[in-house]
Each structure stands twice: as C-alpha cells, then as structure tokens.
Amino acid sequence: MDDNLISKKDILELTGISYGQLYRWKRKNLIPEEWFIKKSSFTGQETYFPKDKILDRIDKIKNMKDDLSLDDLAAVFSPNLAEILLTKQELLIKSIVSPMAMQIFEEFHGETKVFSFDKILFAALLEKFLQSGEVSMEEGKNILETMETHYKSFEGKNGDVVLMRKFGMAICLLVTSPSEIKVDKTTKLVYKLNLNMAIEEIKTKLAEPV
C-alpha cells in the first residue's frame, strides 16, 4: 500500500479541483476516509492518497457530478447493498463468476437461480480467491461459510476477507478494515481481499453494457 501515493497538493494541482471541493466530496462520502493517509513530511503531517484510486475516483466524480446530485453519487460509490437481483446466467455472462466458482458455490449452497447482492458478493469473492491460485476448493467453501455467517454484521462497514494457513489447516477471517494482521512464523497469510473494493468492482461490472 506504500507504493504509488500522491500528495493532496499534487492531486489538487493535477485535477484542478479546489480544497473546498475535496473536503465537500469527503463529507459526502465520495472519497473514502481510508484513502486519506497521513504521513510525516518535512513540513509536518501531510496527507497522501493512493494515486490510481484517487485519480480514477475524481475523474468519475467530475464526469458524473453534472448529472447526479452528490447524494446520488455517494450511492454509486457507497458500500451499502443495492437492491440488485441477478440470475445465474447474468453472473456468468458478465464474468463476475466463472463456471468453476459457480459450481463450488452451488455445491455449498444448493442450486441458486437468483442472486441477491449479498450472494453476488460472496460468489465474486470466491471467484477471486480461487483465481489467485492460492486457495483450494475446500478452502473456498470455508470462505463462503464465513461470509454467510458473519457478513450481515458488517453491513455498511468496510472489511477484509483473509485466508490464513497453518500446518495445512486454513482459517478464514472477516476483519474490519483498515486493519493490520501480523501472524506467528508458522502461519501464512495466504490471501486477502477488501470488501469495498470487491463491491465497487461488481457495481462497475454491472454498469458496463454487455
């Protein structure tokens, strides 16, 4: 996360937006709190942002702000679950879930014809974990089970899904974000995915024309 940060000053310069606008967009939750990273510099504390993410977000806001109110924009970026229902076919067609991940999902859940946003998220996370090449199908089911049981209590909050492994046994965690996890030397932090990022990716894929 340390690489590719841009200072607040530079981002304002690059994008031509003002302090007032940046603060307003922060208030309206268009720019997540987590992206404001404080670091000491020779003038004191300065604020930095993840460069690619902030540039992309500001670009999107500038493009959409004439058509949508700031509150509507916040809904586009917000992590709260939308009233979305998709069929299994649509998920496959939009490449949110691969046939392999879908099979594992259905092995765990039973046949699923219609997916609510929660289920779309779980399937998409499973897909990404499997795609990483680091996670087995059994562990994938473990991840699904963890999400099923605990995700509701996270609603609205950002979190990370973490898979750890020790002596061949896998443990899945759902942790609030931002947080740092340190483990003992025989435990391996296998893979980690951020909920908000996954949700945004899904929303973007859904918005794309097929």
Partner: protein, 242 residues
C-alpha cells in the same frame, strides 16, 4: 410514525426500559436502560440514557448523558450534557459545556460556550461563538467562527472559512481574556479552504486560494494559489505562491 406510541415521563430517581415512544421527558436522576426511539426527547437534570437515541427533536440540558449514538433531525444541548457516541443530525445547537465524545455529522452546527467534539465534525454550515474544541478534523462548507475564548481544531477544511475576533462579552469571557490573552485564539495545525479570512488564529499551515491574514494571527507557512493579504499585526513566517 405509528399512532399508538405512548409517552414516557420519568422524574426523580425513576428508571425505565428503552423502547419506542412518542414523547420522552426525563428529569432529576432518571435513567433509561436501553435504546430509545421517539418523536421528542427532553432530558434534564442528571439523567442518563444508557443506549442509542433516535428521535426527531432532542433537547438535552443539565448534566444529562446519552451513552450511545444519537440520530435526530434537530438537537439542542446545553449545560454539561454529554453524548458518548456519534451525533448525526440536521441541525444542532450546542451551548454550555456539552461534549460529544464521538463524531458530529450535521447540516447546520451552531456552537456557543465551551463545547467539545472529541473526534471529527462535518457540516455544511459551522457557526461558533465563544470557545470550542474539535479533536480531529473540522470539515464544513461554510465556517464562521467568532473567537471569544480558546478555540481549537486539529485540522480545518472547507470552502469558505472566516474567523474573527469576537466581542468579549460576559464575565467568563472577560476573565479568560484577563488571565491569558493567549487563550482568546483559534489554534489549529492545518487550515485549508478556498477563501480564508483569519483573525486571532495561530496555525502551522494555511493553504487555499484567496487568503487574508489579519489581526493577532501567527501563521508559520502559507501556500496560496490566488491572492494573499497580510494586514494589521498578522504575522506570517513564510509564504509560497503555487
């Protein structure tokens, strides 16, 4: 809202469970043992609400405490009342020494007296007269501060920021000013905005488009894009035009 909600009135040392009510009035050392959802809440004396509050209008005074979060449309607090959690509201008027231990999220904030928000304060309009403290970031579109006591915020950000030396009215204000004229100032580490006018302000860094540094200001560094004016006895250590 439902039609059949009852009113709750506690006085003296009575207590009640939380729940959904129409109007809730607590005074004395009344105690509510859980979350409260109501249309109107009036809490005074040394009463305690041990939970979250969701209401349309809230009036809190005396030394009453709310141990959880508050969500409402309008809130007026005075005296030494505290909220332990966050306050999310449209309008809030705080006076006296009320404290919010969490964040304050509002459309309109009016503060007078010596209140504190421990974490961040976000608003569209922030008007303060007297003294206040914000532990984190004051992020508001329109910020209007009249300094008549010690004011502080860790960081201030917004569009229009105006800080002026206020009328030193009232005995306490005069006393503070007499004891230490240093205290009648706004202290912040960073102030960033589009248009900034400052008096009685001590800050490390001020950044913005158009900035005026006026009477009794001490600023270490200014970075500005448009125009910078330093007037009266305002002191700026170093300035850079970007």
């Amino acid at each position: 809202m439902e039609q059949n909600l009852q009113n709750l009135k506690i006085s003296g040392a009575g207590s009640a469970d939380g729940g959904r009510y129409n109007e809730v009035r607590i005074s004395g050392a009344g105690d509510i043992k859980g979350d409260v959802e109501c249309n109107y809440l009036k809490s005074s004396g040394a009463s305690n609400i041990r939970g979250n509050v969701k209401a349309k209008i809230i009036e809190v005074s005396g030394a009453s405490d709310i141990k959880g979060n508050v969500q409402c449309e309008e809130m007026r607090t005075s005296g030494a009342s505290d909220v332990r959690g966050n306050v999310t509201t449209k309008k809030i008027r705080i006076s006296g020494a009320s404290d919010i231990k969490g964040n304050l999220y509002a459309d309109e904030v009016e503060i007078s007296g010596a209140s504190e928000v421990r974490l961040d304060c976000e608003a569209e309009s922030f008007v303060a007269k007297g003294a206040f403290g914000i532990g984190g970031l004051l992020n508001a579109g329109n910020i209007n501060i009249q300094v008549a006591g010690p004011c502080k915020a860790k960081e201030i950000g917004g569009e229009h920021i105006e800080v002026r030396l206020g009328e030193v009215g009232g005995f306490i204000s005069k006393l503070i000013k007499f004891v230490s004229s240093n205290e009648c100032m706004l202290k912040a580490e960073v102030i960033e905005g589009d248009n900034i006018y400052l008096e009685g302000t001590k800050a490390k860094i001020v950044r913005g488009n158009n900035i005026t540094i006026g009477k009794d200001c001490e600023i270490e560094l200014i970075e500005y894009k448009g125009e910078l004016k330093v007037i009266d006895n305002g002191r700026v250590q170093s300035q850079t035009k970007l």
